[in-house]
Symmetry: C2
Subunit: 376 residues, 2 copies
C-alpha cells in the first residue's frame, strides 16, 4: 500500500508545513498548487508551459474524462499521462462532486449515484468501486475516495447523513483500490462547518487508513471566514505524517490562509478560468484587463513578474486582445495567473523552510493593500 | 526609396525563383509564406511559436488594426512590432480589400472609400493617402498600395474601370508614401482574368515604380484553373529583379503552382483558420480531426512531421480536444498547419536552389495522391 509513494515533512513554521511527496512520476513540493486539467488539458496551455510555471502535479476530473473520451478508451490509449503529454504526477478527483454539480437526472442510493451525462444525455452509474476502477484506468497517481458533498449552507442532519454515507463509501473505496504500489488513495473528510461531524469523519478515515487526507466540503458557498473557522482545527484532526489536501481552493488569500493552517495541497480552476475572461491575479490584487483604463498603458501587467505575458507585452496589448476576443488573451493571462499562483507557493515553501512565514504573509498582504496602480 | 530594403534573386528553375529580401528587421527567404496576424496576433499562436515554424514575416491587416486598437494609438505604443512582440518584418495590406469584404455602408468615390466599422458601426474614410499614413503609423516594413478589387466573376468593363481606379490610387500611394529608407512600397496589379487588362496594369505600375509587385484580384472566386491561367503570364509582366507577391493564396497545391509560375511571396488565413476548426493539412492531404475514425487512433497526425502536435500527441487526443472544444486543439493544429506550410516553402526553396523543382513537385503530388491512411 503506497510503496513508491511517500511524504516527507521537511519543516514546520507555526502550523504551516513544507515537505515533499515522492512518487514514481516525480516529486511534488508542498505546499503545492495543482492546476486543473479537467478534460485532458489545462485550458489554453501546453503541458510544457504548465510545467514551466512550476507545477509539479495536475488535477484531472474523473467525471469529464469518464464521459469523454471514456475511461476504457483512455486505458487502451496508454492512460491519461501519455494521452495529454504530461508525464509527471496526476491527481484525479472521484467524480462525485462533479456528478452533483454538472449532471442531470441524478439518483443517489447507498450503492452509488445514477446520472445523465451533460455532454450527450447518456445514462451512467458511479459507485465507489467504479470510481476506483476509472481512476485506475486513467493511471492516476493520487486517487480520491468516492464521496458525496452537499452544498453549504445545509441543515446539520443533512450534512451528518451525507458525511456518514461518504465514510461508508470511503471504506468501500479503500477496499476496491487494493494494493497498487506507487499509487496513493486519499480519504476525504466531510462534516460541513460542524466540529463534531469533522471529528467523527476524521476518526472514521483514520480507522480506514489512507496515504493522504483531504478536507472536503469546503469552498462550496460557506465563505472565507467559515472556511478558515473549520481550517483552524480540521487539519489537526488528521495524521501529521500524511499530506493534507484542501479541495477546490482558491483565491490567493484563501491559499495563504489555508497553508498557514496546515494544508499541504490545493487545486482550483480560478487562475485558468480567470485567465480566459480577461482577469489577472497579481501581487497587487486582481486586474480586469477588459477595463478601458488599460487601453493605452504601455506598462506590463506586473513589472516584477517574469512570465511571458509580463516580459513581452503591455497592458495595452492584453486589453486589445481581450477586447478582440483573441485566443492569445486566454493563453497569456492563463500563463500569468498560473505563474503567479506557483510563485505564491514557492514563496511560502521557502518562507516556511526558513522559519519566516509570518513575515512573508505580512508582505503578501501589504503588497495587495497597495492595489493595482493607476496608468501613466 | 527602399535603401536598406533589397531583393536578391539567388536561383531560378524554370520560372520558379528563390532569393532573399533583406530588410533592417531581418531577411525574408523566398518563396515565402506569410502567416496572417490580422488583429495583432496570429490566432492561437505565440509569436515565438510562429517564428519556430520557420516564418520570416507576418502579414497584418490595416482594416482591422485601424479600427481596433487604432493606428494613432498603435504609434503611441511604439508601433505594431513592439505591440505584438514580433520584431521581424511585417507586411501590411492597404485595407482596401477588407473594407470591401467586411465593412458596411460603403461609398466608393475617386477620392477613396467611406464605410462603417464592423466592430462598432463608427464611420471611417480611407484614401490612398490615409492608407499610407496608417501603414506608416503601424511601422509596417512592406506597405501595400491602396487598391480596389472586385469579386470574380465580374463584367470586363467593371474589372477595367476598377483596375484603372486602382492604378490612379497606386500613383497617389507612391506619392504619399514618400522616402522611407528601409521600408518598401508594393504596387498591386489588377485586371481580373483578362490578359490585356493585366498588361495595362503592369505597365502602369512599372511606370510608377515600386520596390515589389503584387498580383492582386486573384483567389477571389475564380477557381484554381483560372488563377493558374493568369499566373501563366502575369508574373512575367513584372520586373524580374523585384519580389512578386500573390495575395491571399492559398491551399498547398495553389502555393506550389504559384511558385512554379514565378511567385515569390504569398499569404493566407487557411492554415490558421483551418487549425481552429479541427482541419489539418499534411503531406498526404487534408485531415478532419473531428471525424470519428480518429477517436482511438494512437498514431500521430503525421509520423514524419516534427511539430509539437505530431511529436507529442495522438490523433485520438487531437480528436478528443477538437470535439471537446478545447483551446489546445486550435493551438496544436494551427502550429501543425503553419509548420507544414513552412515546410513546403523550405522544400521548394531548396529544390529551386538545387535545380530540381520538377522532381520535388512530383514528390509533393505523389504524396498527396496516397491520401490519408486509414486508422489501425
Amino acid at each position: 500500500m503506497g510503496s513508491g509513494f511517500s511524504f516527507t515533512l521537511n519543516a514546520t513554521d507555526g502550523r504551516a508545513r513544507t515537505g515533499v511527496i515522492s512518487t514514481p512520476r516525480g516529486e511534488i513540493r508542498t505546499p503545492a498548487f495543482m492546476p486543473v486539467g479537467t478534460a485532458g488539458t489545462v485550458k489554453a496551455m501546453l503541458p510544457e508551459s504548465v510545467r514551466a510555471t512550476g507545477a509539479d502535479i495536475l488535477l484531472g476530473n474523473t467525471y469529464h474524462l469518464m464521459l469523454r473520451p471514456g475511461a476504457e478508451r483512455l486505458a487502451r490509449l496508454g492512460g491519461l499521462h501519455r494521452f495529454m503529454n504530461w508525464e509527471r504526477p496526476i491527481l484525479t478527483d472521484s467524480g462525485g462532486f462533479q456528478v452533483m454539480s454538472l449532471s442531470t437526472l441524478r439518483k443517489l442510493t447507498e450503492e452509488g449515484v445514477t446520472f445523465s451525462s451533460h455532454v450527450d444525455g447518456s445514462k451512467h452509474h458511479l459507485t465507489p468501486e467504479r470510481s476506483m476502477e476509472i481512476q485506475r484506468l486513467l493511471g492516476s497517481d493520487i486517487v480520491m475516495a468516492f464521496d458525496e458533498c452537499p452544498a453549504l449552507p445545509a441543515a446539520e442532519d443533512t450534512v451528518a447523513k451525507s458525511m456518514r454515507l461518504s465514510m461508508r463509501w470511503a471504506a468501500r473505496s479503500r477496499e476496491a483500490f487494493g494494493d497498487r504500489p506507487g499509487h496513493a488513495l486519499f480519504g476525504i473528510m466531510q462534516g460541513g462547518v460542524t466540529r463534531e461531524l469533522r471529528e467523527e469523519s476524521a476518526e472514521a478515515l483514520k480507522g480506514i487508513g489512507f496515504e493522504g487526507y483531504a478536507v472536503g466540503g469546503l469552498a462550496v458557498g460557506e465563505g472565507q471566514e467559515a472556511m478558515f473557522g473549520v481550517l483552524d482545527y480540521a487539519p489537526g484532526l488528521l495524521p501529521e505524517d500524511k499530506p493534507r489536501y484542501l479541495m477546490g481552493v482558491g483565491k490567493p488569500d484563501d491559499i495563504v490562509g489555508a497553508v498557514k493552517r496546515g494544508i499541504d495541497m490545493m487545486d482550483c480552476v480560478l487562475p485558468t478560468r480567470s485567465g480566459r475572461t480577461g482577469q489577472a491575479w497579481t501581487r497587487r490584487g486582481q486586474v480586469n484587463l477588459r477595463n478601458a483604463r488599460h487601453a493605452e498603458d504601455p506598462r506590463p501587467l506586473d513589472e516584477a513578474c517574469t512570465c511571458p505575458a509580463c516580459r513581452s507585452y503591455s497592458r495595452a496589448y492584453l486589453h486589445h486582445v481581450v477586447r478582440a476576443g483573441e485566443m492569445i488573451a486566454g493563453m497569456l493571462l492563463t500563463w500569468h495567473n498560473l505563474h503567479y499562483f506557483q510563485e505564491i507557493m514557492a514563496g511560502m515553501r521557502e518562507a516556511i523552510a526558513g522559519g519566516r512565514f509570518e513575515a512573508w504573509e505580512s508582505g503578501f498582504h501589504a503588497s495587495r493593500a497597495e492595489g493595482d496602480v493607476e496608468p501613466l
